[in-house]
């Protein structure tokens, strides 16, 4: 009875299911019918394959085919025809293995494990499943698992409902940085020029350097011939550095180490030394600077003194700037750069990162001769916290410089939010105190250019009615008193405030980049992805960033007196270069730090300038007596233009993109 019951019950259930099927609406039946057709297999296949990195799909598909049709294995090329390190693997895995290190590929061959990064909802459960399959996984964040998965289980992994995406772990590409390809320094993995910077001194005035980084060592010795710390006034030669005496002069910002590495790192610490700088055999002289203009001036002179003592040509990199001064190369530090530069002495300066900052306003004040010309620009202040006499105090403080040419007689004044008009005196300074705001207004004729400089220092209470609705007014003294009428105004720093009307996104190259002799460098993008140490973002991919396009932050020219700056654009958006071991997390967050090696990915004209510095070191190796004029001429002659740069010269790209190969081969009289 019991046996009959056990048989009968399923029969009844089957009959019931058949009955139910007949009663199922046609639409449902149709769907069920489709699932039995060959095409019906494709829908769910597409679904799970869509969760696999294309790099892995080949591996998963191949594994599936091999499992079903063992006899079709000969489709895989014979071992003799395949690269040795990856023989015996399916095509997809071969391709994957070709992107891995030798060690990784060898292990892959032995164990047939695929390294993946899994984006998922339940990291713990995904990791457990990987372990069950004989792989190994690590949950690096609630939504990310890094794992090595048996090739045959890739499909199973992608089918897990908790898995959103499985990406091949490619680590770093084992070839030179993308910037070198863009600049023509490397083609097909080989340097296009013979020069390495040997015998040339690359000077770096910056935040210091990690003297222990392998990129700055060669043959067990440092490549840094001189290291000056302006904070402690200590100076170290190579012997002292090798003795460990400079260990206390750390680079906690990480900026200087990265900059020095772009110009002259030798790739030490990167796989196969693949992340070489532009001039990997140049000598280095580094100044850890306070970045005050007085110390910068001293630092540049110091580096050229070192070069003179060593009888070497030298190129000095300055990846910094500010917006005080005439923006015409007339500040003392800029003219000192002009004086220090000469045969075998070149200074390179970054254009600046203010390309999108409304800190400059420009107008032409010229009437029709019967009425006085007039121009206005509005600005606002940003409240900030300052150290006061009795503790922190919140205020708005803005430093505004207004310049007009010596040919013109203009009135430059401020109108405060309440309507008060604040005039500078004819010469000297005058203070206005209205309780809620204070203004120091001054006027002087610049001793060098002869142009008129009107300066306003504005201090306000932090309430919005005092921070906003300030107006800069310029007008002719009398009808026809302006010959040129050009008025330029700069807010010292975007953190202090911004122009709300009258802003022009040009003339944003600051000092010392406007120095006449300096090579001024803009930035464009050459990289938009890398593997980072940030567990939340292990694979950085900036999809919106167009490669080869100008960096939006790159400050445009020209100078106030119409000089064509920048001269050249170079790779500066996301360059891989040495990471200082002492860099603070607040300075270089995890996402900038490259996974597995002591390198960082940074952007800025700070990065594009040392690229040109390194390139000029190569040029100086070829001809150590070149002066800045001839170096600039060759730079300009050798640039390349494309659909991004458009017609050059223009204010953002200068004369075009740096082309190192052409720079090194161009004839002197070309």
């Amino acid at each position: 009875m019991a046996k009959k019951k056990r048989v009968a019950k399923p029969a009844k259930k089957a009959a019931k299911r058949r009955t139910t099927k007949k009663k199922t609406p046609a639409k449902t039946r149709h769907v069920r019918s489709r699932r039995r057709t060959p095409e019906s297999e494709a829908a769910p296949e597409r679904s799970y394959l869509g969760k696999l990195d294309p790099m892995l799909r080949l591996g998963a598909s191949r594994a599936k085919v091999e499992a079903r049709f063992q006899t079709r294995a000969p489709e895989v090329p014979a071992a003799a025809e395949r690269p040795e390190a990856v023989s015996g693997l399916s095509l997809g895995i071969q391709s994957l293995a070709s992107r891995m290190s030798k060690v990784g590929a060898e292990r892959l061959r032995k164990e047939d494990l695929v390294s993946v990064v899994v984006d998922c909802r339940a990291g713990e459960s995904v990791r457990d499943r990987v372990d069950q399959w004989g792989g190994c996984g690590t949950r690096v964040s609630p939504s990310t698992v890094v794992a090595r998965v048996p090739r045959t289980e890739l499909e199973s992994l992608a089918r897990l409902s908790a898995v959103r995406y499985v990406e091949a772990s490619t680590k770093l590409k084992l070839h030179s940085d993308l910037a070198h390809v863009s600049s023509g320094l490397v083609r097909a993995g080989v340097r296009t020029v013979a020069q390495t910077g040997a015998g040339v001194l690359v000077g770096v005035v910056d935040t210091g350097i990690d003297v222990s980084h392998p990129a700055f060592r060669s043959g067990g010795k440092t490549r840094i011939v001189n290291y000056l710390d302006q904070f402690t006034d200590q100076e170290f030669d190579a012997a002292k550095i090798d003795a460990g005496d400079a260990a206390g002069s750390t680079d906690t910002v990480g900026h200087g180490t990265h900059v020095a590495g772009i110009a002259a790192g030798n790739g030490g610490g990167s796989p196969n030394s693949s992340l070489r700088g532009v001039a990997p055999e140049a000598d280095l002289a580094v100044v850890k600077s306070t970045l005050e203009t007085a110390d910068i001036l001293t630092a540049i002179a110091h580096i050229f003194d070192i070069a003179k003592a060593r009888n070497q040509p030298a190129v000095v990199n300055c990846s910094f700037g500010g917006h005080v001064g005439g923006h015409d190369g007339s500040t003392i530090i800029e003219r000192t750069i002009d004086e220090l530069s000469g045969p075998g002495r070149i200074v390179v300066v970054s254009a600046g990162n203010e390309g999108s900052d409304p800190i400059h306003a420009h107008g032409v004040v010229r009437g029709d001769g019967s009425t006085a010309g007039r121009w206005e620009a509005k600005f606002s202040l940003s409240p900030r916290t300052f150290q006061g006499e009795s503790g922190p105090v919140e205020l708005g403080i803005l430093f505004l410089q207004v310049w007009h040419q010596r040919e013109d007689r203009l009135k430059i004044r401020l109108r405060a939010p309440g309507g008060n008009v604040l005039d500078p005196p004819a010469e000297g300074s005058k203070e206005y105190d209205f309780g809620s705001f204070f203004v120091d207004a001054s006027r002087q004729v610049h001793p060098y250019s002869g142009d008129t400089l009107v300066t306003f220092e504005v201090i306000t209470l932090p309430q919005s009615q005092w921070l906003t609705n300030w107006t800069l007014v310029a007008e002719e003294d009398s009808p026809g008193s302006a010959t040129v009428g050009a008025v330029h105004a700069w807010i010292r720093d975007g953190a202090e405030g911004r122009f709300t009307t009258g802003a022009t996104f040009e003339y944003l190259i600051g000092m010392p980049a406007t120095a006449y002799s300096a090579v001024t460098v803009a930035s464009y993008a050459t990289r938009n992805q890398w593997k980072s140490r940030d567990p939340q973002n292990p694979s950085i991919h900036l999809e919106a960033l167009a490669l080869e396009a100008l960096s939006t932050f790159s400050s445009p020219g020209p100078t106030r007196d119409g000089d064509n700056k920048p001269e050249v654009a170079a790779p500066g958006e996301w360059l891989l270069a040495p990471l200082s071991k002492d860099a603070l997390a607040s300075e270089l967050p995890l996402f900038t730090r490259v996974s597995g090696i002591e390198y960082a990915s940074l952007r800025g004209t700070s990065m594009s300038a040392p690229y040109v510095t390194g390139s000029l070191a190569l040029l100086l190796q070829k001809d150590g007596s070149l002066d800045w004029g001839e170096a600039k001429r060759r730079l300009i002659k050798s640039t390349r233009q494309d659909r991004h740069s458009g017609v050059c010269w223009n204010a953002r790209w200068g004369y075009g993109k740096l082309d190192v190969e052409r720079l090194l081969t161009i004839e002197p009289n070309a």
Binding site: L297, T298, F320, G321, I332, P447
Partner: protein
């Protein structure tokens, strides 16, 4: 007085870059700068880096041997 401005700490000593009228300053020129209150740190051509009490800045600017004085500005990294 200036309530707002007085809330801020103002440096008593200023670091400056001084451009001299003479092309190659001699010891007597530097001694003269010392008399004006400038503590000379380094000379580069006819540019002198040094520090001076804020109260003596106007006197330095007005001196006939001085062509131009700039305050040392802190620049920003790019």
């Amino acid at each position: 007085m200036h309530k707002l401005r007085d809330q801020l700490k103002r440096p008593e000593t200023l670091r400056v870059i001084v451009e001299l009228e003479v092309r190659s300053p001699e010891d007597k020129d530097l001694e003269h700068l010392g008399d004006l209150g400038l503590d000379v740190e380094r000379v580069v051509g006819n540019k002198v880096v040094g520090s001076i009490p804020a109260a003596k800045l106007e006197g330095l600017e007005a001196d006939d041997s001085v062509r131009m004085v700039e305050r040392s500005e802190k620049l920003g990294l790019h």
